[in-house]
Amino acid sequence: MTSPQKTRTRDRPSRPGTAPADGRAPARPAMRGRRRLGKAARRVMLNVAGLLVAAVTLLPILWMVSTAFKPEKEIFSLTPHLLPAHPTLANFGSVMSGKVIGISYWTFFRNSLIVTVTSVVLASLISLLAAVAVARFRFRFRTSYLIMLLIVQMLPQQALVIALFLDFRSLNLLDSLTGLIIVYTSFALPISIWMLRNFVATVPKELEEAAAIDGAGPARIFWRILFPLVAPGLVATSVFSFIFAWNEFIFALTFLGLDQQKYTLPIYVNYFFGRGGAAWGSIMAASITYTIPPVLFFVLVQRRMRGGLFAGAVKG
């Protein structure tokens, strides 16, 4: 019973001190000790720096969350506290019911959802077709087309919005979700095509050729072979389009004028924010609910995020 304990205690004396295990004689113990200390100190310093970076980065988000759960008295307290002393859901309640501006949060949520989901589906379909063309065929203007995508993606929205406003005005597409869907779909295309192109290129051509020999038509090859294999890539690019459409500000701001029933969430938050009256608890509650979907999707595809933004620069 006691023998294992005994052996352990007997082993112990050799461990601390000048570990002879590495074969070298304990020649300069002072120097070794200092080096080990330096290493430990450096690790502590690195970890402190890490904590500091994380704290500074998280502070604004923490403050948003904590404000949203604070009752009004605490929000304007003369000595602000990081955490609410009496957390409350009242701010969320007044946002959901639309107590502050007369329209419920869900109206704007629905608008944003319609615009975003429709443009994501359309953009995915269109860019998949284009990606197949670029990845599977060699044709004239192929390089020009790819370069055109890179350039077009950099056009400033503040410039385009002037012309598109006038166009959509004459087409009666202002104050409508359809107008936004058209814009968001088109703007999502360049990055989507760039990203999807790499996914399509990784599907071995032999699979398709084998299916063709077996007598499958192009539509069948596409749906049965290419589509399932490219699906993960499609999910990643969809998240990109989703985040773009969900966050987009300038077109929605310009196209959606006085008809508040049509506002998407960012315009609603801006309107809420611009009204003054300092309803910070409610504004933060609205901001949190607006921010959760893109953050969730972001976490979902964080690895691909960099790849997509680098689409033009690094071969995937």
Binding site: F76, Y145, V161, I162, W280, K315
Partner: protein
């Protein structure tokens, strides 16, 4: 066959991105305001007079200067912070690195509107926590300004300081993650060899890390310049929805000229063309950097 597959994307991009760009060019040579929109008057071709008016306008030069200085400051700070955090992430242990990069991911994922609203509230003169903190700190540290109730958004310098913080906060994670991904491709022996030869961290970075990651830094630099020079949403929200004329950057100025009553789409278009040309020059650099890496192969 390939052309048929490309057709939908070409139509969509052509109609919503390319054609409006051409229209902006055409509009910039016209007088185009409410009478023309309603059809009461035909549009009037005026040659280069919109451009002449813009170049004579001191507000244009002010907005251009704000855009240039702001972009330079934000790009330098974002790249420096991002690179330092990337280097740090590379040396941290697994759990700590995951924690720091999750925090960075949250900042990165926060939409522009949310980030602006949060920082506006943090820096609010009535009840904002930053003014409160600054007012509690000793004068020798924070200067003799009366920080209690200090308004950050009503004049250009504080407003753009606040905007700089927002954009660095949102922008550094992308740089950090990109630099980290690049660092993982550098064989550890290279750094070790340099360290054994007695090179300090500063020397190791400039002699080994930087040259090897140069392509990544080039792309990060160009993308940051494009994003920060053309920033709209955050600037619009922080500078008070077009309310403060001396706080316009170039993009906001173009937008305000075009849409503020009475709208002057021609002048706005001329400004938009200038903005687009500046950004396209940077973009050409970006495309060339990409093509050189064989990305269009």
């Amino acid at each position: 066959m390939p052309y048929l597959l490309l057709l939908p994307s070409v139509i969509a991009i052509g109609l919503v991105l390319v054609w409006p760009t051409i229209q902006i060019g055409l509009l910039s040579f016209q007088i185009y305001g409410l009478p023309q929109v309603s059809g009461a008057q035909p549009s009037q071709w005026v040659g280069l007079s919109n451009y002449a008016a813009v170049l004579r306008d001191p507000e244009f030069w002010l907005s251009l200067r704000i855009s240039l200085i702001f972009a330079a400051v934000v790009v330098i700070l974002t790249l420096t912070t991002g690179t330092l955090v990337g280097l740090l992430l590379n040396r941290l242990g697994g759990k700590m690195a995951a924690f720091v990069s999750t925090a960075a991911l949250l900042a990165w994922a926060t939409p522009a509107v949310t980030a602006s609203v949060i920082f506006f509230w943090l820096f609010d003169p009535d009840g904002g926590v930053v003014d409160w903190t600054l007012s509690k700190l000793p004068h020798w540290l924070v200067g003799s300004t009366n920080w209690a109730g200090f308004n950050w958004t009503t004049s250009a310098l504080p407003a753009y300081t606040l905007l700089t913080l927002i954009l660095v906060w949102q922008g550094f994670p992308f740089v950090a993650v990109s630099v980290l991904a690049g660092l993982k491709t550098i064989p550890a022996e290279l750094h070790e060899a340099a360290r054994v030869d007695g090179a300090g961290p500063w020397r190791v970075f400039w002699r080994i890390t930087y040259p090897l990651l140069k392509p990544i830094f080039l792309v990060l630099l160009l993308l940051s310049v494009i994003w920060d020079f053309g920033v709209f949403t955050q600037a619009y929200l922080i500078t008070g929805a077009l309310g403060n004329r001396d706080e316009y950057n170039l993009g906001i100025y173009a937008y305000a000229k075009a849409f503020q009553l009475p709208p002057s789409y021609g002048l706005g278009a001329a400004l938009a063309v200038i903005l687009t040309i500046i950004l396209l020059i940077i973009t050409v650099g970006y495309v060339r950097a990409s093509v050189r890496q064989g990305a269009t192969a």
